[in-house]
Symmetry: C2
Subunit: 250 residues, 2 copies
């Protein structure tokens, strides 16, 4: 992990861009943590998931989430997804995306094969990268466990919750296509989950989201469904997700 730039945001949060091999990423640490990191307890870490639209495009929302988390004492980090931003496109992605758009424009359901082709290569590549990032992040001074995961592609969050034992709690956003195999993986999740669903998200299959919530094996799982469309998660719903993470990670 190489830090390539650093700046202080208005509220004192330290923002550092890094590369992990060829993967760019960003780490945010609370204002107080950097000054007292070695003296005080390490900050718990939240991995900030995001849709595959590129870190540059997602930056404003990610930075806002990071600052919100920093106010609660959390360090946060994110990495570019495979196939996004300046990273090479995933094989088959263009075709799957075209198939999806064609189905949506025709008002037809997106075929399971298309969903698999769209999501599974992304999950298969992203999950090991997030785990490698976690290795590097937890080796930094001032950053420790417990670790949470929040947001982004729900299939990535689901698989991470299954395979990465260092993640203690996850906020999942049910707003993207769900490959069939993920319902089976969901049964293996046991960590506390807080699932956000935008009830009238036109581009999202509500029943698929409810089925996935039902499938999660966790003893503590909560579904928060709200109005406001795909990107209209109400502020109070974001606050509630933050309270969930605070309850489990602090």
């Amino acid at each position: 992990m190489h830090f390539t730039s650093e700046q202080r945001l208005d509220d004192g949060v330290l923002e550092r861009e890094f590369t992990l091999g060829e993967i760019p990423g960003i780490l945010w640490t609370p204002a107080t943590a950097s000054a007292t990191a070695t003296a005080s307890a390490p900050a718990p870490l939240i991995l900030l998931g995001h849709p595959p639209l590129g870190l540059r495009k997602m930056y404003p929302r990610l930075a806002a989430r990071a600052q919100h988390c920093a106010a609660e004492g959390f360090a946060t980090a994110t990495i570019e997804l495979p196939g996004s931003g300046d990273r090479p496109r995933l094989p088959g992605a263009e075709q799957a995306l075209a198939d999806m758009r064609r189905a949506l424009q025709a008002g037809e359901p997106v075929a399971d094969e298309t969903i698999d082709a769209l999501v599974l290569p992304l999950v298969d590549r992203a999950v090991p990268e997030w785990r490698t990032a976690l290795d590097a992040l937890l080796a930094l001074p001032g950053i420790g466990g417990p670790v949470g995961y929040s947001g982004g592609v729900i299939s990535i969050g689901t698989r991470l919750a299954v395979v990465e034992p260092r993640i203690s709690a996850a906020v999942l956003f049910a707003g993207s296509f769900i490959p069939r195999v993920m319902y089976e993986e969901a049964r293996q999740v046991t960590i506390p989950l807080h699932v956000l669903l935008q009830w009238d998200d036109e581009g999202n299959d509500r029943q698929a989201a409810l089925d996935l919530f039902d499938a999660f094996g966790s003893e503590e799982k909560t579904l928060h469904a709200n109005m406001g469309g795909h990107t209209g998660v109400p502020r109070f719903a974001g606050d509630a997700a933050g309270q969930f993470l605070t309850r489990h990670l602090r």
Copy 2:
């Protein structure tokens, strides 16, 4: 409204039993409100709904909710439901209850007619009584608006939200049978709603609850689904419902 007894609870909350005609009820006011009622702003009021099991049986849970609300500065009140406690049974209730039990024991769905016979007479009688209670409560010194409704039989809360303009926000518990006519009434609800659903509530029809949530006409409506069975609403879910009421009533 005649007060028949009063006592101070451990935390200073003033608990007063009353009768409203032949209907018994209980009013709780925050410790500080009674001392400063006339001098300071009146306390907002939350009507505490409950299942038709009788106030005496429900008292421990109602008092705990009242104390929780009082800590946030709310007055709370509840009345005995028609047909419950020492009040005369509703005509047809015994038969409807027997029909429901027979269906459940046979593992069959409860017929729409049975649900109607079980719930609608209760709603038809209870709603005007709660409105009369509201008249009397809001006439008391130290108690004012805005008014919230929380819990109990979801069809009573739904109809109250439609017909009673003084109710500004409601927490509804989706844990009881829903007559078909309520889906139409739900479309007329416009106040902010916070709906609690116990996901694995064996005695409850989950799909009916999701359909009712979908039907509500409110621009702000939130569904919180949790694990833990019918009576196992997690503490954090109760806290979140309290935050919703605080957000809308203060």
